[in-house]
């Protein structure tokens, strides 16, 4: 896969938001300065028609780790997630402004092909969405259209590696020709992750990936996410506080289109700075 961009600079989140901090709009609960910022967002706004859903977000996302976006419905967390692979482009009337740098490169600049971007930034949705094809072809689909494999043997290798990374290989290796839609919900979700991995992405976005899964399938998915974080930047939207606490290293709380609080997950869940965060995570009316 061609690197669209290279330099990973040390970007200070703190440096980006001094005014906001002074205004008390953003609480930087801990040092969120990373040596490995994958994304640097500055004044990101998302509009749907005349409605502004996100009011200028300044935030860095760490590489090789899990960042959880939490907040009540309508807070803007899913809109923000879709900023990272320009999925908002596909929504009629949606408009994104501000600056989003991935490894220092503006992903909204004209010379970026959104299709190539989405190969680098994979996405997994709430409802598993395998193609109506065989398990093999689901995973081989991306490598085929992006021309990642020269030979069938090479493609077989990619499919196996991806299914292994997706934690599904042992369960499906003897029935790769069976339809992907015939798998259980949890298996389908891991298949979709394997499909995303097959095109060698750098980032995996997940929008409520476990909300349709039972506890065992959820646990397997969480184990998988924990393994994947070694090699990928993972951003996950979840309504499950417990899940955010279990799998993420950084948590960002959104409320009514603002980033209210962002910091170490352990800190957010034991001693949040902002009352709105506390009310939300402890289940208070506020």
């Amino acid at each position: 896969m061609t690197q669209l961009l290279t330099s990973t600079n040390k970007v200070s989140y703190r440096a980006l938001t001094p005014e906001l901090e002074l205004m008390g709009q953003v609480n930087v609960t801990t040092e969120t300065e990373f040596d490995n910022a994958k994304f640097t967002c500055r004044d990101v706004r998302v509009h749907y028609g005349s409605l502004e859903a996100l009011h200028g977000i300044d935030m860095n996302i760490q590489d090789n780790g899990v960042t959880a976006l939490i907040g009540p419905s309508g807070c803007g967390k899913s809109s923000f997630l879709r900023v990272f692979n320009r999925m908002n482009d596909t929504i009629t009337g949606a408009r994104v402004s501000g600056e989003v740098l991935m490894d220092g490169q503006d992903i909204y600049s004209n010379d970026i092909d959104p299709v190539l971007l989405r190969a680098r930034v994979g996405m997994v949705f709430q409802k598993p969405n395998p193609f109506p094809k065989s398990i093999y072809d689901n995973v081989a689909y991306g490598p085929r259209i992006h021309g990642l494999a020269e030979t069938r043997v090479e493609l077989d290798g990619i499919v196996e590696t991806s299914l292994r990374k997706g934690g599904l290989w042992e369960e499906v290796k003897d029935r790769l020709d069976d339809p992907g839609t015939g798998l259980s919900g949890g298996q389908q979700q891991r298949l979709v992750i394997a499909r995303a991995i097959a095109v060698d992405p750098e980032v995996i976005l997940m929008d409520e990936p476990a909300s349709a899964l039972d506890p065992i399938a959820t646990a397997k998915l969480e184990v998988l996410i924990d393994e994947l974080k070694e090699n990928y930047c993972i951003v996950i939207v979840t309504h499950s506080m417990a899940q955010a606490a279990r799998i993420s290293q950084k948590t960002a709380f959104f409320h009514m289109g603002d980033l209210v609080e962002y910091g170490e997950t352990a800190k957010i869940f034991s001693n949040p700075e902002d009352k709105r965060t506390q009310d939300y995570i402890t289940g208070r009316t506020g």
Binding site: F269, N271, T282, G283, R284
Partner: protein, 238 residues
């Protein structure tokens, strides 16, 4: 603090807090009665204190049970988590203070067998002070009053000072009249135990600070207990 959306969660937290306050009051009364028994040389009262310790243990077990249930069923986070964990820690400290009240009552039965010895008034004063701090720290807990908790934490020095004084007096007493050694040695144990009560109250004060602020107190607190290096008076002149 606003209410939980799930009202039964509020009820659980409130019940836990109330149970802890009930335990605090009981332990305070136990310690107060133990000191009364010592002052009045009242063996019956001392017996009652020893017997009532079972109630303290029962409340402690109940609090542990409630904490387990809340952790298992409510999955508390943030302030709820701190409240829950602090309740467990505070109950444990109270349970120990209860044990000390019981132990004081036990030693009182030995002390009353001999004539009152020097230092007993000081020991009673110390016991009253310890009881007052238990009371004060519980008021601070009920009000979640960090300022008050911090004041109590610092005042622990006063209890330490009593302990040192009593050691000197009682050791001198034993030197001059060895017929009182039984009573005197019991008194040194009581003094040392009461000094521990001061430490336990301090731990409770720190738990209150943690519940309210979410921060652990890092600064070293002042300490003044010198009994571990106190020798009999003659040794001072060496």
């Amino acid at each position: 603090m606003s209410d939980h959306i799930v009202k039964s969660f509020d009820d659980d937290m409130k019940a836990l807090s109330e149970e802890l306050s009930r335990m605090g009051k009981l332990v305070r009364d136990q310690l107060g009665s133990a000191i009364d028994a010592l002052e009045q040389r009242n063996v019956q009262l001392a017996k009652r204190v020893r017997k009532n310790d079972k109630q303290v243990d029962a409340i402690n077990a109940d609090i542990e049970e409630r904490v387990m249930t809340i952790l298992a069923l409510r999955n508390p986070v943030a302030v709820d988590l701190r409240e829950t964990i602090a309740a467990l820690k505070i109950a444990r400290e109270l349970e120990r203070i209860g044990d000390i009240a019981k132990n004081t009552a036990k030693r009182t039965s030995v002390i009353v067998e001999s004539e009152p010895v020097n230092g007993i008034e000081k020991l009673i004063e110390m016991g009253r002070l310890a009881t007052t701090t238990v009371d004060a720290v519980f008021n601070a807990y009920a009000a979640r009053d960090v300022e008050q908790a911090l004041r109590i934490r610092i005042s622990d020095q006063e209890i330490d000072t009593y302990c040192n004084e009593i050691f000197h007096i009682v050791l001198s007493g034993m030197m001059t009249d060895n017929s009182n050694i039984n009573a005197c040695s019991q008194m040194t144990f009581i003094a040392k135990n009461l000094e521990r009560v001061g430490d336990q109250v301090t731990n409770i004060a720190e738990a209150i600070h943690y519940v309210v602020t979410g921060d652990h107190i890092e600064a070293r607190r002042p300490k003044n207990d010198k009994t571990s290096s106190t020798a009999v008076p003659e040794a001072d002149n060496d």
